[in-house]
């Protein structure tokens, strides 16, 4: 065996034992039946899959897809101008990028808690608004879809800004100049010339936001008050309190399936060489 084989061996073993094998077990679980008091046991059956097509779960899936899409759209809308600004900032670019990434180094849990602190009925925002007299009753800023959306956008915005910035950086500035020479206004240039050229970066950013948003668990749990059930919550719930491992496995596989499909479609359009 060459040196190279030895080098690849540990990683291959880890992937086999801690990624492929667990997924195999999940597939097996999805074909079993829930025991009376939880767990999974024989007989083998596809009942869990049939249950997946129940309109209720289609609704959850649809809602999750919609939330993820909204979060992605918002991140794009908010993140693109920022990436544009940074790409034109000259020597401050490094620092500005660092400032975007910095929150990412903070635990997602802490960042979510920061919003809980701000948004609850006796939180900072409501207290301030009440004091100033703008409102007379605290606004229900938490425990709804809007709060979850805010949490998702706040958490994943850096994932949009970075790839878009990377793509914008690579665009030849002379193209924008040429358009300006031809009489186009700055806004039009941005929309019709620059944005399309940054296409691959935008696509990457969208993917990097959409996929984690789809499988989000913490944000809907803490900021949605357990009322907004997304796929991530459903999976967690089935594996803990509901103790229905077969059904939970089925939902997980559906989630992986969708995520894998999106990734596959993306990689065909814009091959990424991160690894």
């Amino acid at each position: 065996m060459t040196v190279r084989h030895w080098f690849l061996l540990p990683a291959r073993m880890v992937q086999m034992l801690l990624f492929v094998l667990p997924l195999g077990i999940v597939v097996a679980l999805s074909l079993l039946t829930r025991g009376d008091y939880g767990g999974a046991e024989q007989p083998w059956t596809t009942e869990a899959y049939r249950r997946l097509f129940d309109p209720l779960y289609a609704l959850i899936l649809w809602r999750s897809l919609w939330m993820a899409a909204l979060a992605t759209g918002l991140c794009l809308l908010l993140g693109f101008p920022l990436a544009l600004y940074i790409s034109r900032a000259g020597k401050h670019r490094g620092l500005l990028l660092q400032l975007v990434i910095l929150p990412f180094w903070t635990s997602f849990l802490i960042r979510t808690y920061a919003w809980l602190f701000l948004l609850r009925d006796t939180g900072l925002i409501n207290t301030a608004l009440l004091k100033v007299g703008v409102i007379h009753q605290p606004l229900p800023l938490l425990y709804n879809d809007g709060a979850v959306l805010l949490g998702l956008v706040y958490g994943y915005l850096p994932f949009m800004v970075l790839p878009v910035y990377a793509a914008l950086e690579r665009i030849d500035p002379s193209l924008a100049e040429a358009a300006a020479d031809l009489g186009a206004k700055p806004f039009t240039i941005t929309l019709r010339v620059i944005a399309p050229l940054a296409g691959s970066g935008i696509l990457a950013g969208c993917l990097l936001v959409f996929i984690p948003s789809l499988g989000a668990y913490l944000t809907p749990d803490l900021m949605g008050g357990g009322r907004t059930v997304m796929i991530g919550n459903l999976v967690q719930n089935q594996f803990t309190t509901a103790r229905d491992w077969p059904f939970g496995s089925t939902v997980s596989l559906a989630l992986i399936g969708i995520t894998g499909l999106l990734l596959f479609l993306f990689l065909r359009r814009a091959p990424v060489d991160a690894l």
């Binding site: 009376d36 209720l56 959850i60 009925d121 425990y143 009322r227 594996f239 509901a242």
Partner: protein
């Protein structure tokens, strides 16, 4: 190389420090006094790892696997029989539980474990409605919680049994019904109520009640008492249609390799002064008769914690449900939460 050795050695050294016997106790949150565990540790020369949960399901999810690592847990009474049937509980040795005689009369031969062969009653409570006195008219029955006037300032328990139970009681059906048609109707009620429910929360809602964020909540009587002590404008009512009574019991898990020490802990909890200290500080209703005598008169007279006979007559102790019924209820619970 040296740096790596040091990094590996330090944590190993730290692990070797504590050589006392261990006991792992998993209990409901806010169900013990500050000194209970430290005093036990000191007296018996042991180290207790004490962790908390918010619902039976949370505890069962860990314990059902049979190798969770916990020694003592506190299931609600109607979970004990299923746990026993699944071989999760260790039989109790009464020779080691000399303080059993301290239990109140009604808990010496409880419905769910007449011989006390596998459980020791710890605390009991009931589910009712806690509300802010500002509300006019004050709620007095479950049906009052189905009203648009709450506008999202209402929470219900994050517990399938309690939520479905409230819906069933509102419909005049038995609290622990296993009839699928009944449960379907209860589900529809729950879904209809959802728009005025802020969230499904257990003991976590206490702070929000105290601060006034939440105006009414379906809550257990002990948590309600804790909230009322913290905020004078709260009150508790036992709904007119009927309500469930619950007893939380200490059990020893069969997987535990420290049964002897676990018995000591259970016996320790049965001491009148220990149980009284817990009941006083945690503001819970104790199943220990001798301890109850040690409580201040004001606490003993609390209608919330120790309701009178007339109110008690409206309450029922939910039975353990057969496996198939549990599955059906779990499924309906998922559907309610997802709707």
């Amino acid at each position: 190389m040296n740096r790596r050795m040091f990094l590996l050695g330090a944590p190993l050294a730290a692990c070797a420090v504590d050589r006392r016997p261990h006991l792992n106790v998993f209990n409901w949150s806010s169900y013990i006094a500050r000194d209970t565990v430290p005093n036990f540790e000191r007296e018996f020369g042991v180290r207790v790892r004490y962790s908390v949960y918010e619902s039976n399901e949370e505890m069962l999810a860990k314990v059902m696997t049979g190798n969770s690592g916990w020694d003592v847990v506190f299931p609600t009474h109607n979970r004990i029989e299923p746990m026993w049937r699944n071989g999760l509980l260790a039989p109790l040795d009464h020779a080691k539980l000399t303080n059993l005689r301290n239990l109140a009369e009604e808990f010496r031969r409880p419905l769910w474990d007449p011989e006390l062969a596998r459980s020791v009653p710890y605390m009991w409570n009931a589910t009712g409605i806690v509300y802010n006195r500002r509300i006019e008219p004050p709620p007095s029955q479950w049906a009052d919680l189905w009203s648009a006037r709450w506008e999202g300032r209402l929470t219900m328990l994050d517990d399938a049994e309690d939520l479905l139970g409230a819906c069933l009681a509102k419909l005049g059906l038995p609290f622990d019904s296993v009839n699928p048609a009944d449960l379907e109707r209860a589900k529809r009620e729950a879904v209809a109520q959802k728009s005025s429910v802020r969230a499904y929360l257990n003991a976590e809602v206490r702070d929000q009640l105290v601060s006034g964020d939440v105006l009414a909540a379906q809550l257990w009587s002990t948590t309600a008492q804790q909230a009322i002590s913290a905020a004078k404008d709260l009150a508790f009512v036992y709904p007119a249609e009927g309500f469930p009574l619950y007893a939380d019991n200490a059990v020893i898990l069969r997987e535990s390799a420290r049964a002897a020490l676990a018995h000591e802990f259970l016996n320790y909890l049965l001491r009148p002064e220990v149980a009284a200290a817990i009941a006083r500080e945690a503001e819970t209703a104790t199943a220990n008769g001798a301890a109850r005598l040690l409580l201040p008169a004001a606490v003993r007279a609390s209608e919330t914690l120790y309701p009178g006979a007339a109110i008690r007559a409206r309450g029922t102790w939910p039975r353990a449900l057969p496996g198939a019924a549990i599955r059906l209820r779990d499924r309906i619970w998922t559907e309610i939460k997802s709707a």
